[in-house]
C-alpha cells in the first residue's frame, strides 16, 4: 500500500494511464487489441519524439516553443528535396535543418543570455517564415512510394515508427539517468548558479539539449510526413503546446531540476490513449481538448498539494 502511494505521488500519470486503459477496455470492444495498441504507439510517436527532447530542455530549466515550426521545416525539406537529392539525401537535409535550428537557439540562449522562452518564441515565428519562404505556401507530395511505404511498414509485425519511438525513449531514459550529461542537466536546472560554481559548463549543456530537441522535432516531422506521404507548410502547428503538455503531465517541473523520461512517456501515452479511446467511443474530438486541459490543471493542483505536504514549494 505504501509502495502504491509512493508511485502515486511520484508518477501519478501512470495511474491515470492505467485507469483510462481499464475504462476504455470495458467501454469499447475495439480498444483492448494488439493492433489498436500499436496504432496508439504510432499516433503517440509524433508528439512523443518531441516530448523526449523537450523533457531534457525543461529539466534543464528552459523551454522550446519552436519545435512545431521545426517539424514543418524538416518535413518540407525531406519531401520537397526528394526529386533533387533522392530520399536519403533529402531526409539527411531535413534532419540537419532541425539540428541547425536547435544549435541556433542554443547558441543564442547561451551567448546572449536571453531567456529561452523568448529565444524560441522568436524562432517559432521565424522558422515558420522560413518554411513559407521555402515552400511558397505549397504542399509537397512524395512521388516515390518507397517513402510513404516506410511510414506504414512493420518490423517483427510491429509498426516501424512505434519501434523507433520506443527505442529512442529507452535511449533517452538511459542517457538522462546514467550519463554525465544527464546528471549535469539536472544540476543546471536545479540551481544554475550553483552548477556554474561547481564547475559545470552551463552553456554547452543547454546547447546540447536544444540540438537534441531540434533533431527529435525534425525526426518527428519527417516520420509524420512518411505517414502522410506529403508535407504541408502548416504542419506541426501547436505541437509545441502538446509536447509541453505531455512533459508536464509526466511530472517534469517548469522550474527545472526535476523530471523523468518515464513520466514523459506516461504523459504522451495518456494523451494518445485518450484521443484513441474517445475516437473509438465516437466522442467528438472537441471534448478531448477540454478533458486534456482540465487534466493538466488538475495534475498541477495535485502536484502542488503533495509538494506542500512535503514542505517543498513548486515555486514560480
Amino acid at each position: 500500500m505504501k509502495r502504491i502511494f509512493a508511485i502515486a505521488t511520484k508518477q501519478p500519470i501512470w495511474l491515470f494511464v492505467l485507469a483510462i486503459t481499464i475504462f476504455f477496455s470495458f467501454s469499447s470492444p475495439y480498444f483492448f487489441d494488439l493492433n489498436n495498441f500499436s496504432n496508439i504507439l504510432v499516433q503517440a510517436s509524433t508528439i512523443g519524439l518531441i516530448a523526449l527532447g523537450m523533457t531534457y530542455v525543461m529539466i534543464n530549466g528552459n523551454i522550446d516553443l519552436s519545435v512545431g515550426a521545426t517539424v514543418a521545416l524538416a518535413a518540407s525539406l525531406a519531401v520537397g528535396l526528394q526529386p533533387a537529392l533522392g530520399i536519403p539525401g533529402a531526409v539527411c537535409v531535413g534532419l540537419l535543418s532541425g539540428i541547425a535550428i536547435g544549435a541556433l537557439n542554443g547558441i543564442i540562449a547561451w551567448k546572449t543570455g536571453v531567456d529561452a522562452f523568448i529565444v524560441t518564441l522568436g524562432a517559432m515565428i521565424g522558422v515558420r517564415g522560413l518554411v513559407f519562404i521555402y515552400t511558397e505556401e505549397q504542399s509537397f507530395y512524395a512521388f516515390d512510394f518507397a517513402y510513404s511505404d516506410f511510414g506504414s511498414s512493420t518490423l517483427f509485425s510491429v509498426p516501424t515508427l512505434a519501434l523507433i519511438f520506443i527505442a529512442l525513449t529507452i535511449l533517452a531514459h538511459l542517457m538522462l539517468k546514467y550519463s554525465v550529461h544527464g546528471r549535469n542537466v539536472f544540476a543546471v536546472g536545479g540551481n544554475r548558479v550553483a552548477a556554474k560554481e561547481a564547475g559545470i559548463r552551463v552553456g554547452p549543456h543547454m546547447l546540447i539539449n536544444f540540438i537534441l530537441v531540434g533533431f527529435l522535432a525534425a525526426l518527428s516531422g519527417i516520420l509524420l510526413s512518411t505517414q502522410m506521404g506529403a508535407s504541408t507548410p502548416n504542419l506541426g502547428r501547436n505541437y509545441e503546446l502538446w509536447a509541453i503538455t505531455a512533459v508536464v503531465l509526466g511530472g517534469t517541473r517548469l522550474t527545472g531540476g526535476f523530471g523523468s523520461i518515464i513520466g514523459t512517456f506516461g504523459g504522451v501515452l495518456a494523451i494518445a490513449i485518450l484521443r484513441n479511446g474517445m475516437n473509438l467511443l465516437q466522442v467528438p474530438s472537441f471534448y478531448v481538448l477540454i478533458i486534456l486541459g482540465s487534466i493538466l490543471i488538475i495534475v498541477l493542483i495535485i502536484d502542488k498539494r503533495f509538494a506542500e505536504q512535503q514542505g517543498q514549494g513548486v515555486g514560480a
Binding site: D115, G122, R192, L296, I297
Partner: protein, 333 residues
C-alpha cells in the same frame, strides 16, 4: 507620455551614458524610428496618414489584447489562453448577435469572457498555480469549449449591412477608424491606470517581489486575479473589433495569437520575470510588428517575410535590453 519624453532626453548617449546603455533603454524607440525612416525611404506609399491608420488598425486586435496581457506580465505571470479566448469571445458575440440582439450579445460575451478570466485568476491568483501551465491548459480547454459550442461550424451574421454592430470594426469616428480609436483610447486609459494609480503601483510590486509585497500587506491573490480579469476584458474588446470587422468567425480565429501578443509585449521591453514594463512601450512594440508587416508588404515581399524579420527583431531587442543591464554584450556562462 511626457515623462517618457523626458527620460528620452536625459538618456541620450554622452559622457555618462554608454551607447550600449542608450540602446538598452531606448532601443525600442530607436527601432520604431528606424522602421519608419527605412520604409519611408523605400516606399513612397508608406508615409501617409491613411497608411498610418491602416497600420494602427492592423495592430488593433493584437494590440488591444496586449494591453491587458502587459498587466499580467508585469504582475509576474503569463497568459497563453488569450488566443483561444479571442476565438471563443468572437464566436460567441457573432453567434448571439442574430440569436438575441446585438447589445445583449455584447453584454453576454463580456460576461462569459470575464468568467473565464476569473477562472484563470482564481487558479493562478488564489491557488497559486504556475501561470504558464494553467493558461496552457485553459488554451486547450477553451478551444474545446468553442468547438463544442459551435459544433465545429463557423458562425456568420446574416444581415451584415444593417446592423449597428458594424460600428466597432468597420466605421470611422472623427476620420479615424474605430478599431484604431478603441485601441489607442484603451491604451491611454490603461497607461494612466498603470502609472498614476495605486493599483498600477501594486501590480509592479507583486511582479517585482511577490513575497515582499505580500509582507508589506498587499493582497497578492486579489491583485493577480484582477490582472487576469483585465486581460480577459481587453480580449473581449478585441473580439468585439474582430467580430464586427469580419461579421463572422471561424472556430480557431485566434489560434497562435497568444504568442504574437507576447511578442509585442516582449518587444516593448516588459520583462517576463515581472516587475517592469509599460503600456506605451507595449503599444510601440505592437506597432513595430505591424509596421514591419505593412512596410514589407508595400515593398512587394510576400506576407510571410515579416515572420523572419520579427524573429531577428525580437531577439536583438531583448538582447540589447539584457546586455545594457549586464553592462556586457555576451553572457558569462
Amino acid at each position: 507620455m511626457k515623462a517618457w519624453v523626458e527620460s528620452l532626453k536625459s538618456g541620450l548617449p554622452g559622457k555618462d551614458v554608454s551607447p550600449l546603455q542608450f540602446f538598452g533603454k531606448h532601443g525600442i524607440s530607436v527601432a520604431f524610428v528606424v522602421c519608419v525612416v527605412v520604409f519611408s525611404l523605400a516606399s513612397s506609399k508608406f508615409l501617409s496618414a491613411d497608411n498610418f491608420f491602416t497600420v494602427v488598425m492592423q495592430a488593433s486586435i493584437i494590440g488591444t489584447i496586449a494591453l491587458g496581457v502587459t498587466f499580467v506580465v508585469i504582475g509576474g505571470n503569463l497568459d497563453l489562453s488569450v488566443g483561444s479566448l479571442l476565438s471563443f469571445s468572437t464566436v460567441l458575440v457573432v453567434d448571439l448577435h442574430d440569436k438575441v440582439d446585438p447589445g445583449m450579445a455584447i453584454v453576454l460575451m463580456f460576461l462569459f469572457t470575464l468568467l473565464i478570466g476569473a477562472v484563470n485568476g482564481y487558479l493562478i491568483g488564489y491557488l497559486r498555480l504556475n501561470s504558464l501551465i494553467v493558461t496552457l491548459g485553459m488554451l486547450s480547454a477553451i478551444q474545446g469549449i468553442t468547438l463544442v459550442y459551435t459544433g465545429g461550424k463557423n458562425v456568420d451574421i446574416a444581415d451584415q449591412e444593417n446592423t449597428w454592430f458594424a460600428f466597432f470594426g468597420r466605421e470611422e469616428l472623427f476620420g479615424i477608424p474605430v478599431p484604431a480609436l478603441l485601441f489607442i483610447t484603451l491604451g491611454i486609459i490603461l497607461q494612466i491606470v498603470l502609472v498614476k494609480t495605486g493599483f498600477g503601483r501594486k501590480i509592479f510590486a507583486i511582479g517585482g517581489n511577490g513575497t515582499a509585497a505580500l509582507f508589506s500587506g498587499l493582497r497578492r491573490n486579489r491583485l493577480v486575479f484582477s490582472t487576469y480579469l483585465l486581460s480577459a476584458f481587453t480580449t473581449g474588446c478585441a473580439a468585439l473589433i474582430l467580430g464586427s470587422r469580419v461579421m463572422g468567425s471561424q472556430n480557431n480565429v485566434g489560434e497562435g495569437y497568444e504568442l504574437l501578443v507576447l511578442a509585442g509585449v516582449i518587444l516593448g521591453g516588459t520583462s517576463l520575470l515581472g516587475g517592469s514594463g509599460s503600456i506605451v512601450r507595449t503599444i510601440i512594440g505592437v506597432l513595430i510588428l505591424a509596421l514591419i508587416q505593412n512596410g514589407l508588404l508595400l515593398l512587394g515581399y510576400p506576407y510571410y517575410t515579416q515572420w523572419l524579420v520579427t524573429w531577428g527583431v525580437i531577439i536583438v531587442a531583448v538582447w540589447l535590453d539584457i546586455a545594457a543591464k549586464r553592462g556586457k554584450l555576451l553572457s558569462t556562462y
